[in-house]
């Protein structure tokens, strides 16, 4: 009897410890990054760091706006491309597709979700960059090397689609069949039942899937870095190169650390990434709360 109680206590304690570990991890990361980036706040104000466009570390100028704007641009672009594809593919697979198609598609989606991002990057260089350079840019009467924000957005969208689609499929599958049947029994067509019942019922889950997808997209590094051009500039033209925040950290950390404040600047870039992802999550949490209230 005593042994059972000890086992019970150990299991309970271990579970609680695991939970505390998970909860404290972002806090530890945030505090660590802040402490390492703190010296740069003595050098430049937070406002100057975020809104400044001048990036010349050797002269002590650390303006992060080109990196922030590139990250936002690529992420939003990928989001615009991925959202409708995921939504319609998810609806089709869960509501209209045959069992055979589902059996084929699920492993394909899982494989795509599990592919290392470097593969997407290589594929982006081989296919997307030439496609942007030779097809898309000429179509819009623009000259582009192909290494651009647009290429980054497309590669990122393709990377995020299986990830978000998997979550959407789970969400749509949780809608009770009885609810759809109730709608059909009232005289709805199949599409009306899907639109008014399945999508509406799944709405908080859809927001949640997109929120997680957006946060993942914002932090994605390797694949984007390989196709986006990595040029420090603020551009509204999607056919020009950009330089997202994760690429800045990945390309430069460990290099040129002899430059004063450079280490702190890169740590600040990481902190900025963490904070922006946190803000994205909070915004989506708010939307989920509002959706569940309705």
């Amino acid at each position: 009897m005593q042994k059972r109680f000890i086992t019970d206590k150990i299991t309970w304690t271990w579970m609680l410890f695991s939970l505390i570990l998970i909860l404290t991890m972002p806090l530890i990361m945030g505090v660590g990054l802040y402490l390492k980036s703190a010296p740069i706040f003595e050098h430049q104000s937070l406002w100057q760091l975020i809104t400044g466009s001048n990036w010349s570390p050797t002269r002590g100028n650390f303006g992060f706006w080109p990196f922030i704007s590139s990250s936002l641009y690529v992420t939003i672009l990928s989001f615009i491309l991925a959202v409708p594809v995921c939504l319609f593919a998810g609806i089709y697979l869960t509501q209209f597709a045959s069992g055979t198609l589902n059996k084929i598609m699920h492993p394909v989606i899982d494989i795509l979700a599990g592919l290392p991002s470097v593969i997407y990057g290589v594929w982006g260089i081989l296919i997307i960059v030439p496609f942007v350079s030779k097809v898309l840019a000429p179509f819009f009467n623009v000259t582009s090397s192909g290494y651009s924000l647009f290429a980054g957005g497309i590669v990122l969208a393709i990377m995020c689609i299986p990830y978000m689609l998997n979550m959407l499929i789970e969400v749509f599958n949780t809608v009770p069949a009885g609810m759809k049947e109730a709608s059909l029994a009232l005289g709805a067509t199949y599409w009306e039942a899907v639109k008014h019942v399945v999508v509406r019922k799944s709405f908080p889950g859809i927001i949640s899937a997109y929120g997680l997808g957006l946060a993942k997209a914002f932090g994605e590094t390797i694949a984007v870095m390989m196709v986006v051009g990595n040029r420090i500039q603020v551009s509204v033209n999607p056919f020009e190169a950009g330089y997202p925040l994760p690429a800045l950290i990945a390309n430069n950390y460990g290099e040129m650390l002899s430059i004063p404040m450079y280490d702190a600047a890169l740590m600040f870039a990481a902190l900025l990434l963490l904070v922006i992802i946190l803000i994205i999550n909070l915004i989506f949490r708010y939307f989920i709360y509002k959706a569940t209230q309705q």
Binding site: A182, L184, H196, V197, R200, F203
Partner: protein
Amino acid sequence: MIPYIIPSEGTNDLGHDSDLSLRGNGSQPVVRVKNLNVFAGEHHILKNINLEIPRNKITVLLGPSGCGKTTLLKCMNKLTDLYKELKVSGSIYIDDDDILNAQGYIPEIRQRMGLLSQRPFPLPMSIFRNVSYGIKLKGISDKKLIAHNVEKYLREVGLWEEVKDRLNQPATSLSIGQQQRLCLARGLAVKPHIILADEPTSALDPISSKIIENLFKELKKNYTIILVTHVLRQAVRLADNVVFMYYGEIIEQGPPERLFNEPATEKLKEYIYEGN
């Protein structure tokens, strides 16, 4: 809150088929099932079902779980179409239309029958919109008319007084018994001829169950009710006509007095004995 405005005199509710005399001859059965067979792969779920459902009566489909009662009910409003693994053959006549083999517009066929499930499935919208949903699907867009009908059918199921001040709240905020009555109001609002009720009280407490049963007794004046149940006492309380099913077959059918007092088959005798 959505304003409730009583329509001016002369305005009917949905402006269609409101005269009950239009719903066929009272002496004719409203539903006739002929040689209905349902297969799920090799499994023969319904075996050559032949059945007549009398108008404005409560017909109880009685039988143990898994005997095919719900499948029979789903055949009647073609919800079996959703299950690709089911192969359905035979005929189901609603009045004189063979709905099983109908080439017409299936949503209109389904609107002839209100469906009440085992547990309530309120649509993910407000109380008001749950009832107005089916009305709008019929092409009604007049807000006054919709509001009038929402009130009418919520009153018909005795829910209006309980919800009139919170019509815009989510339907899930209601108790489970209220939700089931809301689902009934929602079904009635599309003006069906028949109510298909699939064990509608199985998830409810005794008080809510009694409310639903009493509603059925009232509603049968204007509607034909087909009630699926495995509860013998509920069948005794409500049935005007009983169909006893066992493993996909109709074993006996007829008036409850005869079936419950003088069962002709051993299977029904045993079911009644176990039920008591």
